[in-house]
Amino acid sequence: MNIIDRRPNPKGKSLANRQRFIERAKDEVKRSLVDALKRRKLGEGEGGEKITIPMRGIQEPSFQHARRGGSRDYVLPGNKHYVVGDKIERPKSGQGDGRGKAGNKDSGEQDSFEFVLSKEEFLDLFFDDLELPALVKTKLKETEAMQLTRAGYAIDGTPANLNLRRTMRNSLARRISLNRPSPRQIEALLRQLEFARAADDFESAAQSQHDLQSAQLRAKRFAFIDPLDVRYNRFERMPKPVTQAVMFCLMDVSGSMTEAMKDLAKRFFLLLHVFLTQRYKHLDIVFIRHTSNAEEVDEETFFHSRETGGTIVSTALEEMLRIVRDRYPPGAWNIYAAQASDGDNFSEDGERCAQLLANDLLPMSQYFAYIEVGADATLRHGFPSPPTDLWRTYAEIAPAHANFAMRRAAEPSQIFPVFHELFAKRRERAA
């Protein structure tokens, strides 16, 4: 008999199969991911996602008997009171006797398939063909975020940076090439000398004496460690890529924004959030809501509380600018902003908005997306509806700025395509 401990064997033998399975079910998985996202809160970017997908496409069919029809018989355990000839009412499917239940369970399994995607699988699939525009900051202020990076070896430096291994390697090479006698060799010569003296063999004693002296001389002449051998670790100051980002969610919460519109906006923010968490180690979210004035709020308030008042978009942009200046120096942070609105704006405010955006916000942001939500039926049918105030305003500055994009969405199903369009690789400029 053999007992073998297989625990140290590599695990994840099924990984390759799992990947194949996900690859196969990709379309379905993606679709249900979008559904799953609706249930998520904005901050909950962590952990895997439970996915339920329909069985189409991942079915493994086989010849099977139909569940109904024909004459069948069953042998069951646990008879309580039946005698031969008793009639039993046909159980409704899913209720009654075990057979019905078992049948029901089976058919349930056939309709959908549930499993858990790991976080990586989830994000990979979800943002399969998307990329972040301007992922790394191009300009970095010199004072910001430098870090020391190892860069080979140097022949001078502080003792703290001494690279012992390198130094000793050089030393050893030099000692070997110059034939420096090792302590053991000297000891051996010493012993030889004593031997010869003890044996009164003067001739070899003199020889040994001579050898010993020259060896000692050599050892003294060639140092064990020479300044030539010494090496130090070398460091260079490298600009550190900014791995933190802040995401600004700007939303109009005035009376004209309905719950449905807010829901659309929320979905868009959610997508952006998940997308950014995938790319950045650290992500802050700032919620700014505005009516005729703007304020920073928490998530709950942002999405659920109602405000009344007019709409002045520039207040929100100003608030964002203020917060950026206060807390998020653009050199250290990647700044993303998404603005959702139904497009209403106080007509005199357009000019101010355009200026703020073009002169202040866009130059410091990585990306600024404007999404116009509306229940407008014409949007759905693809007929152009008359552009809103804000849309007209933004449309003027859009062509000049590559990091600004604007889109419209009218119903939940459009959110993902719109998002996808905004971040798709080989992104086309916004209209």
Partner: protein
């Protein structure tokens, strides 16, 4: 069952124990193994393959589950699907993992989980390494149909071949064939003839021969239709047709075999893929037919052994209680109206039958003597059981050994469900009139030939469009599931490359009830 069954002597434990606490280690495992082996071989007279016990983690157990319990398996998305599902169930705590997996190979490999406590490891070793092992080595189906010595080599061959094919022809092309072959897995077994044993060297040689053969020959069968010198003759006369059918050995119930040998447009490597799936299906065929007996045998063996260990004072009362607790869970049989009911539990009925046989051997009643004159009171329970384990499968075992007493104990009854009637009718219950009927009916439920649809390759339209014609013999008016059937036919067409037709014919009257058609590819 309860601990009241323990004989009083068992409570007077003497001698030193195999283990004192519930933590296991390799030394304890070895000691327990030796003690178990002594009882298994000495007292029960079991005859086993050499054992190899492998300790794995729960994660590895999930991996093993996904590849249908085999230690080496080729890659396929469906295993990933299974893994994803079981992983999800396990994480949510909906499913416990099996304590062990045992593989019908020589040496017999048992996987045991590191999470198990020492008493559980004892149970598992007795159950798998002796119970199942003995069954694998001795049951006639396994002896006849599977080659325990060759299976691991063959699996390695299969995995390498498929990996190689994927490299050469692309994952997608391989997957297409594998999907189709998997769909026909249940119809890829020879039920009656004995297949040749697998041998790695022969397998490789045969593959080479096939390539050579393919390069030098055309298949005669297809000549008759394609190259008769003139236009294909649409009215091949009946005699000639019969001759061709004879040549094709029709009808053929092993669809995969027929496709492997006769599909006109498969590449050699595709045939080999079909063959691999067919072999694996054949390997599992005996297990499907002996689930009840196999589990019954293993459960009976572990139950007997741990009780003997306790009697000999080798395990403590606490350890025995822990084992029995788990044992009781395994052999639990809910009633038909219990929400937990999900068919007859093979562990429960199997174990009960084994114990019942032992009882009949040792202390038979008059009823037993009347029903089982051959062995009632022969006082050789283990010999009788070994004989049963070696020479029966579930169907025949129930027909032969299910006793009236057990039917009463399980309170079995039989109901009929006729289409077009308002209510189900109770046909038989556990009384003198019903015993034989219930026993025969239950036995039929374990007959795979009835359980799985009876589908055969009936003909190939040689004179016409080479359409493959299958028949499903409809018994008792039970038809095929439409959606599934359509999907499988698509897979068959993928392999056959010409049209496929399936006729559902009444088994008694030969009348065609329903026809499915799948057009030719391309």
């Amino acid at each position: 069952m309860s601990i009241a069954n323990l004989e009083p002597a068992a409570l007077i434990a003497t001698g030193s124990k195999l283990f004192d606490d519930s933590e296991w280690d390799f030394d304890k495992l070895r000691r327990a193994y030796d003690a178990i082996a002594e009882i298994a071989h000495g007292e029960l007279g079991l005859d086993t393959y050499p054992n190899q016990i492998e300790v794995i983690t729960s994660e590895q157990m999930l991996d093993a589950y996904a590849s249908i319990g085999l230690p080496l398996m080729y890659r396929h998305w469906s295993f990933g699907k299974r893994f994803a599902r079981e992983d999800a169930l396990y994480r949510r705590g909906l499913m416990g993992l099996a304590y062990e997996i045992v593989i019908n190979s020589n040496p017999c490999i048992s996987y045991i989980m590191e999470e198990n406590s020492m008493p559980m490891q004892t149970l598992v070793v007795a159950h798998a390494a002796f119970g199942h092992n003995h069954f694998f080595k001795n049951n006639y189906l396994f002896r006849q149909w599977t080659d325990a010595g060759g299976i691991l080599d063959y699996l390695a061959f299969a995995r390498d071949f498929i990996a190689h094919a994927e490299e050469r022809y692309g994952v997608e092309a391989v997957e297409k064939v594998m999907d189709a072959a998997h769909a026909l897995m249940d119809h890829g077994v020879h039920r009656y003839a004995k297949p040749p044993k697998l041998n790695l060297a022969e397998e490789t040689q045969r593959q080479e021969d096939r390539r050579v053969h393919f390069e030098t020959h055309y298949d005669d069968v297809w000549h008759t239709t394609m190259f008769t010198g003139e236009k294909p003759d649409r009215d091949i006369d009946a005699a000639k047709h019969a001759e061709i059918r004879k040549h094709l050995r029709l009808p053929e119930e092993n669809i995969l075999y027929f496709i492997e040998k006769r599909a006109p447009r498969l590449e050699p490597w595709q045939r080999e893929l079909v063959r691999i799936v067919r072999h694996i299906s054949q390997y599992f065929y005996p297990q499907k037919q002996t689930k009840l007996m196999n589990e019954g045998c293993a459960t009976f063996v572990h139950y007997t052994i741990v009780n003997r260990l306790h009697e000999k004072g080798l395990i403590s009362d606490g350890a025995l209680l822990e084992i029995l607790h788990s044992h009781t869970g395994v052999v639990f049989q809910p009633d038909y109206d219990d929400p937990r009911y999900n068919g007859i539990n093979p562990y429960a009925l199997g174990f009960a039958m084994m114990r019942d046989i032992k009882r009949i051997c040792v202390e038979p009643t008059d009823e037993d003597r009347e029903w089982f004159p051959e062995f009632a009171g022969n006082n050789d329970p283990y010999g009788t059981l070994r004989h049963a384990w070696a020479n029966y499968r579930d169907e025949s075992f129930i027909l032969q050994y299910l006793s009236p007493r057990l039917m009463r104990e399980f309170r079995l009854f039989r109901i009929m469900d006729e289409e077009n009637t308002e209510a189900l009718e109770v046909e038989a219950i556990h009384d003198a009139r019903g015993f034989r009927e219930i026993r025969a009916a239950l036995s039929r439920h374990y007959d795979l030939a009835r359980h799985e649809p009876d589908i055969q390759v009936k003909d190939v339209d040689l004179a016409g469009d080479r359409c493959l014609i299958l028949t499903h013999a409809v018994h008792d008016g039970i038809m095929l599931d439409e959606g599934q059937c359509g999907a499988v036919l698509k897979h068959i067409a993928e392999l056959w490359r010409y049209g496929v037709r399936l006729e559902e014919t009444d088994a008694l009257t030969d009348k065609v009830i329903k026809t499915y058609e799948e057009p030719a590819r391309r």
